[in-house]
């Protein structure tokens, strides 16, 4: 809605101001509606009281006892380390990259492309521990538990997967992997149940990535803003072969 929007009605305006009393749009409506103007003032006053109430007294800061707390396996990477070619995970291969962008999501769980993209991006930020810069790979055994043969065929001989856990996406438990890219950790979500009809681009301002169609499922790859994902993307497309 633009600031001069006069097409907004009272309900729409109040929904927006109720969600954010600092909402500055809808000036056209507000200027013509004294009741809505009063509603906005009331919401702003209410917010000031809410803020006061939320400001709980904070107990004295006690630094945590960190002696003996392991920071195991965490090292800083050099600024531009490259990922060696097929080292990280290798599977038999088989899917061609759909070269078109932003097509509609054709999944079986009623999610639109945007919804799937949002859920994927949200999940990455929910797992701050996963995004460690480290040079220690997860064990083959652990990787096998997270990516069982029933989900995908996988060769465990390779590389630098530094995080592997089973996580929920759209109600399905899926393998969440992290590899070390040239600019930091890169998240790989294997989504065997999320069929997409084309590449979905991801960008939340801090990180970027893709959801790639792979067979009857898809794979999400998300890296930091300056991560070059092409090489990783090619590896993924060569590597994933769903068992389902």
């Amino acid at each position: 809605m633009s600031a001069g929007d006069t097409t907004m009605n009272c309900d729409e305006y109040r929904q927006l101001v109720g969600a954010d009393p600092n909402f500055d749009g809808g000036a056209g409506h507000r200027n013509e509606c004294a009741a809505c103007q009063a509603y906005r003032d009331e919401m702003r006053a209410l917010d000031a009281r809410i803020r006061q109430a939320l400001l709980l007294e904070v107990p004295e800061f006690v630094p945590p006892a960190l002696q003996g707390v392991a920071i195991e396996n965490v090292v800083s990477l050099p600024a531009r380390r490259r990922v060696t070619t097929p080292a990280w995970f290798a599977l038999a291969a088989s899917v061609a990259l759909a070269a078109f962008v932003g097509l509609r999501f054709a999944g079986n769980a009623e999610l639109s492309a945007n919804e799937l993209a949002s859920e994927v991006l949200a999940h990455v930020t929910h797992e701050p521990d996963a995004l460690r810069v480290t040079d220690v790979a997860v064990t083959d055994q652990h990787l096998g538990e997270v990516v069982p043969a029933t989900i995908a065929r996988m060769d465990h001989s390779a590389g630098l997967i530094t995080f592997a856990e089973t996580c929920p996406i759209n109600g399905n438990d899926i393998p969440h992997l992290v590899i070390q890219g040239s600019s930091g950790p890169v998240t790989i979500l294997l989504l065997p149940q999320e069929k997409v009809s084309g590449v979905i681009e991801l960008d939340d301002g801090h990180r970027h990535g893709l959801i790639l169609p792979v067979g009857n499922g898809s794979v999400a790859i998300i890296g930091t803003k300056d991560e070059q994902l092409e090489q990783i993307q090619q590896q993924v497309l060569k590597s994933v072969q769903w068992s389902t």
């Binding site: 109720g18 969600a19 965490v74 929910h126």
Partner: protein, 171 residues
């Protein structure tokens, strides 16, 4: 020697970050779990986790949201571990009562009780927006929900608080 210096620099970085954001971590935890004692525990656990994974924080500019994300996860872990039940506001523990107690200002106390009584789904986005200054987009990201859902929840949260405070005045 180099390693020792690196360790010291790491510790200094950590101390600086958590000292600055400790109030935000505590208040967020307290409003998530609605219990002062549990909040302190959650914050301590969060600090340990932050220490372990400090190297994942590439820029200090992102430290606040990074720490709050950790607090959110630690709070969820705490409740998973302890399988605590939802508490009726009329049946509070001492620590929970302490969250509401305090001020002589009745209006502030009433508002605090009203916020306390909100469902988690409404209270959390409100705390993130009003106290932490998050945009609705950032709240959506933090909570893993759609921005439209955030807008609806915020609107409803305020409507509930407004109604409650008006009812309170009328009584």
């Amino acid at each position: 020697m180099q390693s020792s210096n690196a360790g010291q620099a790491r510790r200094q970085r950590f101390d600086r970050i958590v000292a600055v954001f400790h109030p935000d971590m505590y208040r967020y935890a307290a409003w998530l779990c609605r219990d002062k004692v549990i909040a302190e525990e959650v914050v301590q656990e969060s600090m340990l986790r932050a220490w372990k994974s400090l190297d994942a924080l590439r820029e200090d500019a992102a430290a606040r949201s990074w720490l709050l994300t950790i607090v959110r996860r630690e709070n969820a872990r705490y409740f998973e571990r302890n399988r605590l039940e939802t508490v009726d506001i009329d049946n509070l523990t001492a620590a929970q009562s302490a969250l509401l107690a305090t001020q002589p200002d009745d209006d502030l106390g009433d508002m605090r009780a009203a916020i306390y009584a909100l469902d988690d789904d409404y209270r959390e986005p409100l705390v993130l927006q009003v106290l932490m200054g998050y945009s609705t987009n950032e709240i959506a990201e933090q909570m893993g929900i759609q921005q439209g859902a955030v807008l609806t929840r915020l609107h409803r949260a305020r409507a509930k608080l407004r109604e409650k405070m008006q009812t309170g005045k009328a009584e």
